[in-house]
Symmetry: C2
Subunit: 308 residues, 2 copies
């Protein structure tokens, strides 16, 4: 169809809008316009359109939109846009942010200073990991009683409350830093995983010649009153997909070195007579700025209640 025919149809559709939310209308109309022109420019046939609708619908039923969004680069793009908004406001440096992903669960047990994240089920299957550090402000002053929320996958690539049953809140804790801003935890070294095989995300990625690999990583929310909330993750160095994350989440400054401790070294440092891996990682937060877009992102998240 000609541009004027398409624009006439768009105008007719938009003409049915009376009132409503001006911003929502403008955005919806823009998206519809772009899609109409995509249909026209690619001469998309009805069967192709309905296959796309079936895909969109099925991915909703599969709960996979939270994977498709990062997989198509949107979540990383939103991070870069937040970076830019902060840079424009003079907020630079500090720990880089990166994607949250879809698997955070609110309500994890709150522990002061040091937590053990794993329930022991995989203690003999993987490498024992200790990770520790401090939360600082931009002047290198420790932030006491900061909140370090941490979550990661088990050795099968599953998060507690999603996938095969695990102990509630396995590999999830909220750690409160001590008076020196210190946090620490013991866990199992996470492994990389892939998106659910033959799920909507996997099929979309394969269709466009991609793979759904997520290199090993650990997620964090780090927050404290009067500071800007940090959403980030660290990646595990050496993972073959370290820079091949399907979600584009790996960033410079978020791949700390790993120290391997012998049983005697581990015994001296952690009181455990086994080989362990150890990661030191500090977080640096910016002071809150009411005049800059908030880093507290509202999105649908699951909430569970920790057993008392």
């Amino acid at each position: 169809m000609t541009k004027s025919q398409i624009d006439a149809l768009l105008k007719r559709i938009e003409g049915t809008e009376k009132g409503g939310n001006e911003r929502a209308k403008a955005i919806v109309n823009r998206i519809i316009r772009d899609l109409f022109y995509t249909i026209e420019d690619f001469n998309i046939q009805p069967a192709e359109f309905w296959a796309a609708i079936a895909f969109i619908s099925e991915a909703g039923q599969n709960q996979e939109w939270g994977l498709i969004a990062p997989g198509m680069g949107f979540e990383h793009f939103l991070d870069l846009r937040l970076d830019e908004a902060e840079t424009k406001a003079g907020i630079v440096g500090g720990t880089p942010r990166t994607i949250e992903g879809p698997l955070y669960v609110a309500g994890a047990p709150v522990v002061k200073g040091f937590a053990r994240l794993d329930d022991g089920a995989e203690e003999d299957k993987g490498e024992i990991l200790f990770m520790q550090g401090q939360v600082f402000d931009m002047r290198n002053k420790p932030i006491p009683h900061a909140q370090v929320e941490v979550w990661h996958a088990n050795l099968e690539g599953f998060y507690s409350f999603f996938g095969p049953p695990q102990t509630p809140f396995n590999l999830r804790r909220t750690i409160i830093t001590d008076d020196l801003g210190r946090y620490g935890f013991r866990s199992i070294m996470p492994k990389g995983y892939s998106v659910p095989p033959n799920g909507s995300t996997d099929r979309l990625l394969k269709l466009i010649g991609r793979e759904g690999n997520r290199p090993a990583h650990v997620h964090f929310f780090v927050s404290a009153p009067e500071y800007r909330k940090l959403t980030t993750q660290i990646n595990i160095e050496g993972d073959p997909y370290l820079w091949g994350d399907f979600a584009f989440g790996t960033r410079e400054g978020l791949v700390p070195p790993i120290k391997r401790l012998s049983p005697s070294e581990a015994k001296a440092k952690y009181g455990i007579n086994r080989n362990v891996a150890s990661i030191d990682f500090d977080f640096t937060l910016h002071p809150e700025r009411k005049d800059v877009v908030s880093t507290v992102v509202e999105r649908a998240r699951r909430t569970e209640t920790a057993a008392v």
Copy 2:
């Protein structure tokens, strides 16, 4: 972000595509690019983005994408594009096509010549409708043994197999025209209805200042070997939303006049001593053309088995 920064990110994302389906890649990349620029141009915030993702997902779970697609004008746009493809190939005239909607069910009972569509449950609540006509080719020659698939909603606006339980295939039949190309049926005059209150479609429409009214109508697939399949509907004249269909399905040439027959007239014509409404409507099909895009549209449809 600047255009060159956004384009660099898009290039990085596209750079992960190795192989795959070239057409799918081009279309997916176009859609992602357009959405990235929509996010940038409207300065869409993370909470807005995640609200959209939650909406997309929920509409999949609600099975409402089949309503949103026509509601946003896409299904009508596809019809206009088919019209144009046919016009370019010299296929003009005949009965206009219009949208199928999401509620066709394959497998309806097959009846020769004349069918009663309703199960009698609403016989005393609504107006009895008789509809009849012939299926013609473009030279006005009747097409015997053509297939007239007909389906419509009950007085509550629900289709059998969707919504509150009804007799299987209530208000759905496949009628085979007789030797003179004639079809006919008795049913209950359908009423208009609206999209499910507070469903995804309803909430989206309200957000952009629209309403989800669907004027009373009857759906048809009309087909015969060697002819182009026709997907269409007739609208019931006088409906207050006749030209306010949220799905943009009403078209000139598809709003036949309704005759009201007195009991004596009905007795003479249909053998029923009651007030009835009567609609005459003929369908005209084009001969099949293998060189023109097919009007047989593949999409996910439900199939049920008629009781024997």
